[in-house]
């Protein structure tokens, strides 16, 4: 027994190292001084916070961060709200066209997004949506809806809806039954799908680089690819690394606090074929 514990411990360690090394490397780069930046050492020989101070003094990064946060939050709120309505219908009601909707949303999940870049570029220019928040929010909602609908309907199917009836029998009004009984039961599923959708929007690069052209709506991943340093002689590696670490923090927090939910959300209803 003891021996197998050691063996598992060793295997676990490999997984942890595999997952963390690239992250730790970018963290290490972000703390290096300009002089030690190119020494190739995995651990900084001299530490500095200058890279972080630097990016938070530039408009370029702060505006991109604001855009990233705003766009991801609005997209998540709308996608989860629309997803809840549809998932409730899929989980609880029977109506013709249900399978069609499920199949259609699955198709969207596999859709090659680059195929939409050229028509959306032209349509958004005509509608005045190009290089605006909404120009990104719309495709983000669309491509995260399949994820939201799938995880939410899987969660909704597990809710014991009879409890609502029972609460009403005990004298609760419809609104009370919903608020006191159903909402607490549904909340974990909603939080899970919100996290998954947020990660998706936070992550996007293709739409963000194709459908924006200025700091007005550029998100951080795109701003990173345009970072050049304060002057043309300056190596942007330190700034890019610091900015990269900043946008990784929310992901790490989600993973630390919601690991169980993310795992169950991603595995739920993935296969019941």
């Amino acid at each position: 027994m003891k021996k197998s514990k050691w063996r598992w411990g060793f295997i676990d360690a490999i997984v942890v190292v595999y997952a963390l090394v690239p992250v730790l490397w970018i963290v290490s780069l972000s703390f290096k001084t300009p002089a030690t930046l190119n020494d190739g050492s995995f651990i900084p020989r001299a530490w500095t916070l200058d890279n972080y101070r630097g990016i938070f003094q530039t408009d370029q990064f702060i505006r991109a961060l604001g855009n990233s946060i705003g766009i991801a939050l609005i997209s998540t709120a709308i996608a989860v709200a629309l997803g809840m309505l549809a998932a409730y219908a899929i989980a609880r009601l029977s109506f013709p066209g249900k399978n069609l909707l499920v199949g259609f949303s699955l198709m969207i999940a596999m859709f090659p997004q680059v195929s939409l870049v050229s028509p959306l570029f032209e349509i958004e220019r005509a509608l005045g949506l190009f290089d605006t928040w909404w120009g990104l929010i719309l495709p983000y909602i669309t491509f995260s809806l399949p994820l939201a609908i799938q995880t939410l309907s899987a969660f909704f199917q597990q809710i014991p809806w009879d409890l609502e009836k029972a609460a009403k029998m005990d004298g609760a009004t419809q609104a009370q039954a919903f608020r006191r009984v159903i909402v607490p039961l549904a909340a974990p599923g909603v939080v899970t799908s919100a996290i998954l959708v947020f990660i998706f929007c936070w992550n996007d690069f293709l739409f963000a680089i194709s459908l924006t052209s200025t700091e007005r709506s550029r998100t951080v991943p795109v701003a990173l690819s345009f970072f050049t340093g304060d002057s043309q002689f300056e190596d942007p590696t330190g700034s890019i690394s610091a900015a990269a670490v900043v946008i990784t923090i929310p992901i790490i927090l989600f993973v630390l606090f919601f690991q169980r939910r993310i795992v169950s959300g991603l595995t739920s209803g993935a296969v019941k074929g």
């Binding site: 598992w8 411990g9 295997i11 676990d12 942890v16 595999y18 997952a19 490397w25 780069l29 930046l37 190119n38 190739g40 050492s41 309505l85 549809a86 219908a89 009601l93 029977s94 109506f95 066209g97 249900k98 399978n99 909707l101 499920v102 199949g103 949303s105 699955l106 969207i108 596999m110 090659p112 680059v114 195929s115 939409l116 050229s118 028509p119 349509i123 909602i141 669309t142 609908i149 799938q150 690069f205 293709l206 194709s210 951080v220 991943p221 990173l224 690819s225 990269a244 946008i247 990784t248 992901i251 790490i252 989600f254 169980r260 993310i262 991603l266 595995t267 739920s268 296969v271 074929g273």
Partner: protein
């Protein structure tokens, strides 16, 4: 007496049914409309654009040219190079991910110690912004700067084709193996523990238990994971953009379409590539479903 009662009940039922239907449609309508509006209409528009000569640098020369753009793209060596690169990256990365993902799924599912720790760490590559991970790999392989750069002598790996492709595949595998593992784990939990015990009583060793008991039960999960990841890998963009920007013939079809559109401002050719990529993905999905009989996931109500 009884007849009228059952008659009204039937009528009530159908009224109730109709109300349920209407509510169902009403609740699904917003989601369906957004998805249709942002994908359906643009893809039709892309087909229309692909039949035009339409270069934003010369907007007055727009005209209907039929399938000429398709002929241009399909006889172009850049397109076929990019297509080959995309297929190569897809096949190699998905094959390795399947093996690694299966191992990771087994570890996450069966480990005796630190299960939470393993699952938490495995989620980091899944969650991290692809561009961030790509920068990490780029700097790791940059001569002088990176801890990996000296691994194969004094060369600059990201300036040569073969080594660039290898690094792109490495970055892709690192990022998406955990996702593959999670999809496989969904199949792993369906394997009945009793069945494994029975097999081991009958003298099956662990390899036999894996191939004869677990794999058959997991087959649907494996096929779904493969389908998802294949289609996802085929649209690879972020990693290549950051790692090589398509230099030294490492462009994927997505990079090529993006370059024609945003850098070349050629909407006609860009759209043609968009449509061709869409068709390729549709064909891959069709082959998967026909060949392996993959049941569409999410349709659990059969």
């Amino acid at each position: 007496m009884t007849r009228t009662a059952s008659g009204t009940r039937r009528k009530q039922l159908s009224a109730e049914k109709r109300a349920e239907r209407r509510l169902g449609w009403l609740l699904c309508a917003p989601a369906a409309l957004v998805m249709l509006g942002v994908t359906g209409w643009p893809i039709v528009y892309a087909i229309w654009l692909s039949l035009q000569r339409f270069d934003l640098k010369f907007p007055d020369q727009q005209e209907f040219v039929g399938l000429a753009n398709y002929a241009t793209v399909l006889t172009n060596s850049y397109w076929w190079t990019a297509f080959g690169v995309t297929v190569l990256i897809t096949v190699i990365s998905v094959a390795i991910e399947l093996v690694l993902g299966m191992a990771l799924a087994l570890v996450m599912h069966r480990t005796l110690v630190g299960r939470g720790l393993v699952r938490t760490s495995a989620l980091i590559p899944y969650g991290i912004v692809t561009v961030v991970a790509a920068f990490s790999w780029r700097y790791a392989w940059t001569p002088g700067t990176g801890y990996l750069a000296g691994l194969f002598g004094e060369s600059a790996p990201l300036t040569e084709r073969a080594s660039s492709l290898a690094i792109i595949i490495l970055a892709e595998i690192w990022k998406t193996t955990p996702f593959m593992a999670l999809l496989l784990m969904a199949g792993l939990v369906l394997v009945p523990e009793d069945l494994l015990k029975a097999a081991s009583m009958d003298g099956a060793n662990s390899w036999q238990r894996f191939t004869r008991v677990m794999l058959p039960v997991m087959k649907p999960a494996i096929l779904v994971a493969l389908l998802f990841r294949t289609l996802d890998a085929f649209r690879i963009f972020d990693n290549i953009y950051i790692l090589t920007a398509g230099a030294n013939e490492t462009s994927s079809v997505s990079i090529l379409a993006y370059n024609n559109l945003i850098k070349g401002l050629n909407l006609g050719i860009g759209s043609t590539m968009s449509v061709l990529i869409f068709l390729s993905v549709a064909i891959i999905a069709f082959i998967f479903i026909r060949l392996f009989g993959t049941v569409a996931p999410g349709r659990r109500d059969k």
